[in-house]
């Protein structure tokens, strides 16, 4: 909660920066603020405070908030240039920070109202930021698509919430849970409500067949925003999803588990298969992010004691891996004016560091040991196994293999193809960031227990 307040305040403060002209200070201020927020957040570990019966900072919330703040910190480190070049610098800062507020709400809500508001607070800044390259028609298109589809999905989400309200008379997760636990016959509209909420949440995490917006929006949005969407937004949405379905709706598992089974399979396959053909790395990662949503859904689907820790670990591993890849993609795309795979040709010769970190990040995304991504997948597979969905495990294995195919296209391009032998200039702080991330990926891969134990 303290973190939440701090983040909101930071958002407001950044709006003031324009007026009181301390724009230069803003960047360090935000970084500092995030650090403090992180510390404050950690301070709430094991306190389990509930606020207004609307949100509860249990360990789950604290853990995910930490992940969100850490990733946000890394994101800010990466995205300094994104703010610098903007005329509306302060607006961007505040929008991003507000989005973070939304994300934190989404991981800590205990009431549908907060969920709904969290989603919207996260989404609306994202709609705007996706379109923040105002003159760029692709950016326009991304924002527009995101908005229309998002609003449309919100409609279904709300319909679902309403039906659940109608059936149980409450918006509070706790009360809903009690209601369905005590009810002799649960009204049919409740189930429909659950399914409609499933649709709404699936849209947010871009699960098939509600994923269509994702590749287009990811591609069109400014790379930094794409990175934000792929990491923080996805983490928050996944956390919210789990909080809702693996606790509140667990009792009516029978009504949604089969649907989710099919959707997960579809997501895994569609995301991975479609990514194979992509030539734009950004778009490829967009599809890959759809696929990763599929893996996370696996854990959600299994709904057992492994689910939360595995999703926590997965989001962390996936997010830092994605930050690294997006960072490198943006560096390359800026230097070569193109984010196609061929832009990576010969990178290993000219920029061994970039190539090395990219390789580690891609290996992690592909789930090859000893990287964090491997353990992430491993935990997920374990949880699915425990739940007994062996068929899905097989599909996930096939999907992973396909995944290897497109991740390795980049690796092959970097190490095998001949490039133009011009070194790409890289900022010092980016270098630092990448090295840190590379170490983090390996360290998480070697000592995953530190994170797993949390939940």
């Amino acid at each position: 909660m303290k973190a939440l307040i701090l983040l909101s305040s930071l958002g407001v403060i950044s709006l003031l920066a324009e007026i009181f002209s301390f724009k230069k200070l803003l960047y360090p201020l935000v970084l500092l603020g995030l650090t403090v927020a992180f510390v404050l957040n950690i301070g709430e570990w094991n306190t389990n405070v509930t606020y207004f019966k609307m949100m509860q900072f249990d360990n789950y919330a604290v853990a995910f908030t930490s992940v969100i703040i850490v990733v946000a910190f890394l994101w800010f480190l990466m995205a300094e240039g994104f703010f610098k070049d903007e005329t509306n610098q302060t607006d961007h800062y505040s929008l991003v920070l507000f989005a973070l507020v939304g994300a934190v709400l989404m991981v800590s809500y205990t009431n549908m109202t907060m969920l709904f508001l969290g989603i919207e607070i996260l989404s609306i800044p994202m709609y705007i930021l996706a379109g923040s390259k105002k003159g760029d028609i692709q950016s326009n298109e991304a924002a527009f698509k995101y908005l229309i589809m998002g609003a449309f999905a919100t409609g279904f989400l709300l319909f679902g919430i309403t039906l659940i309200y109608g059936a149980t008379g409450s918006f509070s997760l706790e009360e809903i849970k009690n209601a369905i636990a005590t009810s002799v016959s649960i009204p049919a509209i409740f189930y429909v409500g659950v399914l409609l909420m499933l649709v709404g949440m699936s849209f947010k995490v871009s699960a098939a067949p509600f994923h269509f917006w994702a590749p287009d929006v990811y591609q069109g949005a400014p790379t930094m925003i794409t990175a934000f969407m792929a990491t923080i937004v996805k983490t928050a949405a996944m956390a919210a999803f789990v909080r809702l379905f693996d606790t509140t709706f667990l009792r009516v598992e029978g009504s949604w588990v089969n649907v989710l089974w099919v959707m997960t399979a579809l997501t895994l396959l569609t995301g991975n298969i479609t990514a194979v053909f992509q030539t734009s790395t950004k778009r490829m990662l967009a599809y890959s992010s759809v696929a990763h949503a599929g893996y996370m859904l696996l854990a959600l689907l299994s709904a057992n004691s492994y689910s939360s820790p595995s999703i926590l670990f997965y989001t962390l591993a996936y997010s830092i891996g994605s930050i690294a890849t997006f960072c490198i993609i943006s560096i390359i795309a800026n230097a070569k004016g193109d984010d196609g795979i061929h832009s990576f040709n010969g990178l290993a010769k000219t920029n061994p560091l970039l190539a090395g970190v990219m390789t580690i990040a891609l290996l992690s995304l592909a789930g090859i040991p000893p990287t964090a991504g491997f353990f992430a997948k491993y935990f997920i597979f374990t949880s699915v196994f425990v739940a007994g969905h062996v068929g899905l495990v097989l599909i996930a294995i096939v999907a992973s293999l396909i995944g290897v195919y497109y991740y390795f296209r980049i690796i092959i391009a970097m190490y095998f193809k001949e490039g133009n032998h011009e070194e790409v200039p890289v900022d010092m702080n980016h270098k630092l960031l990448l090295i840190v991330i590379a170490f983090a990926i390996v360290a998480l891969g070697l000592f995953p227990d530190s994170v797993i134990r949390l939940l």
Binding site: M149, F152, V199, P209, F210
Partner: protein
């Protein structure tokens, strides 16, 4: 002396190592001395062993060297077994081996690969000794394959010649076919008896019922090995081709020693065979068929070494006939005498070839009698011996075989006699065409004709003497002699002896002998009439032959048949396997998976139309489907 048995194979091995490693820097003389010396020393020790063994009551001594292979209850020591059979073979191998080494110092003196040749020869002796000394089947197999390797190396000794290389390869591969059978036989022995040591196996086998199918399987598998090594039908074709090697090699390996390994093996396993009548019959039938088949081919060959080669195949057939009818002693006896006279004949042939500057076609020879007196005499003695002319060695051994065959089956005997007649004919044909008549070669060859050096003739003489008197160790009782050999080998064949009851009356034996001698004489005369009196010459290369003659001359086209039935189809099959099955089907499937994914990806991405309306549409459809789960 028996304790020194380890030295017997070790000495040639040392010889091989010294010559092999330092041969280049040693003079030919020293190489020759080391090569011959090591074998001579081995021979000396073998003699010692032989006499010690005859002198002592314990007829079977096992010498453990070291534990070789252990795996669970399978435990194979590297150990040697000294008994009459192995000591006899030791003598044959080292003795004849030594003579041939000596001969080789002369024969190969001009060859640049002199030291290599001696290295190989020594290595061969080493392996051959291992083969006969081993106290279990696996050591025998080691020697078995080792001699195969040496045979390969020596056949392809002149490695620049592709035909020779092919012959070498053929020999190795064909032997390997047999070896596989042998190996499987060994494994079956282990599986059955839990051991592969001769002693353990035979002790257990003794108590088994005759006709036990396992024994039949074992013996047949072992016999496949023997068929390969001893060039029996249908695995004999490598042996005539093996004549590509230098002539001493043909004498040593492809006549006197290695090819008789099969006989040794069957004789060694006599108890197993005795207890499996089916296997015995098979051995006998294959033996006699080979004997006749090879003899017919021998009738029409023009290459001096080819004739001898087919003769060897034929004689090996006789030995198997002997084994098949239970005349184990007879077989070993024939091995011994055959070693003498066939080595002699080959060395004689080598001497002829040496004199003819490498010419091997008998149509180009003739009248060599006066140019090569020693060779001529010794060759004649060898010919008489092989023809079975009394009292030369071949007479006794062949007689024993035929008598036993008669006892067993009259038809076998008849065929045996027929084969003997053919043997006489082709051998004398060879002799007459080579030594009698006029010289038919070129002027140059004629000019060059000379008797071979001492190093070559002395072995010839010694072998000739052995060919003449060699038979006396086994004079049958009917002729008032004492069959020393039988006495000596008795401990080895003791357990099988119930099969070897002599029931022939003396009269019958006399008649049989008489018939054999008469047939031999008739055949000899016929050959004389054709080749000396009428001076008929074999048809020239381009001459048209009568069908039967052509068939025999072309060796029944067996090589061609094998080529077309096995080699070519195998190549074709492999090629198809490679190009179609492996590249198209198996790999195609693997790549196909990748291609399907890529193709599917290409298709699937078109679902991503970029059109919001479509996205919403799919979303709605998705929701409809999801809600359907509620109403269905």
């Amino acid at each position: 002396m028996i304790n020194l048995v380890g030295l017997v194979p070790l000495l040639p091995l040392i010889g091989f190592l010294i010559i092999g490693l330092f041969g280049k820097s040693l003079s030919k003389g020293i190489v020759g001395i080391i090569g011959c010396g090591s074998v001579l020393a081995a021979f000396a020790i073998s003699l010692g062993i032989f006499f010690q063994l005859t002198g002592q009551a314990e007829k079977s001594v096992t010498i453990d060297l070291f534990s070789w292979i252990t795996a669970g209850k399978l435990s194979i020591p590297f150990s040697f077994l000294i008994d009459p059979l192995s000591s006899l073979f030791l003598l044959i191998i080292t003795g004849i081996g030594f003579l041939i080494h000596v001969y080789s110092t002369g024969y190969m003196s001009h060859d640049e690969g002199f030291s290599r040749f001696f290295a190989y020869l020594n290595l061969f002796i080493f392996f051959m000794l291992l083969l006969v000394l081993g106290s279990n089947y696996l050591i025998m197999f080691v020697g078995w394959e080792g001699v195969g390797l040496c045979s390969y190396l020596l056949i392809g000794f002149w490695f620049k010649n592709t035909a020779y290389n092919n012959a070498a390869k053929k020999a190795f591969v064909m032997n390997r076919i047999g070896d596989l059978g042998f190996l499987l036989g060994i494994i079956l022995i282990f599986v059955t008896f839990g051991s592969i040591g001769y002693h353990d196996v035979f002790e257990q086998a003794k108590n088994m019922a005759s006709g036990n199918p396992v024994l039949t399987s074992i013996t047949l598998l072992l016999f496949i090995g023997a068929m390969g090594k001893s060039a029996q039908l249908p695995l004999y074709t490598w042996l005539p081709d093996a004549m590509a090697g230098p002539t001493p090699v043909s004498a040593l390996i492809h006549a006197a020693t290695m090819v008789t390994a099969g006989i040794y093996m069957v004789a060694r396993s006599n108890i197993l065979y005795t207890l499996s009548p089916i296997a015995m019959e098979t051995v006998a039938i294959i033996g006699i068929c080979t004997a006749l088949f090879a003899a017919t081919i021998g009738l029409a060959q023009n290459d001096i070494k080819k004739v001898l080669a087919y003769s060897t195949v034929s004689q090996l057939g006789y030995m198997f006939l002997a084994l098949g009818v239970g005349a184990y002693t007879g077989a070993v006896f024939h091995v011994m005498t055959h070693a003498f006279f066939k080595a002699l004949l080959f060395l004689g042939a080598g001497s002829v070839i040496h004199a003819m500057s490498g010419e091997q076609d008998i149509r180009m020879m003739g009248g060599l009698k006066k140019h090569l007196p020693i060779t001529h005499i010794t060759f004649l003695l060898g010919t008489l011996a092989i023809a079975g002319c009394p009292p030369f060695s071949g007479f006794f051994s062949k007689d024993e075989i035929l008598a036993n065959a008669f006892e067993n089956n009259k038809l076998l005997w008849f065929l045996g006699v027929l084969g003997a007649a053919m043997t006489t004919f082709y051998m004398f044909r060879l002799y007459f065409l080579t030594f009698k008549g006029d010289f038919r070669g070129t002027k140059e060859q004629h000019h060059h004709l000379h008797e071979s050096p001492k190093s070559m003739t002395i072995p010839l003489v010694i072998l000739a003497i052995l060919s003449v008197i060699g038979g006396f160790v086994g004079i049958p009782e009917v002729l008032g002699g004492k069959h020393f050999l039988e006495e000596f080998l008795k401990p080895v064949f003791e357990d099988s002896s119930f099969r070897m009851v002599h029931s022939l009356s003396h009269d019958t034996e006399y008649i049989l002998m008489g018939i054999a001698v008469v047939v031999m004489a008739a055949s000899l005369y016929y050959a004389y009439a054709v080749y000396v009196k009428n001076k008929t010459l074999p048809a020239a290369e381009n001459e048209e032959l009568k069908p039967v003659h052509l068939m025999v001359y072309k060796k029944y086209w067996v090589d061609e048949i094998y080529e077309n039935v096995i080699t070519k189809p195998l190549n074709f099959f492999s090629d198809a396997l490679h190009k179609v099955v492996d590249n198209q089907v198996v790999d195609g499937l693997v790549n196909g998976v990748g291609r399907v994914v890529t193709w599917f990806s290409g298709i699937l991405r078109y679902a991503q139309t970029g059109n919001i309306g479509f996205y919403v549409f799919v979303m709605v459809i998705g929701i409809v489907l999801i809600l359907c789960t509620r109403i269905l």
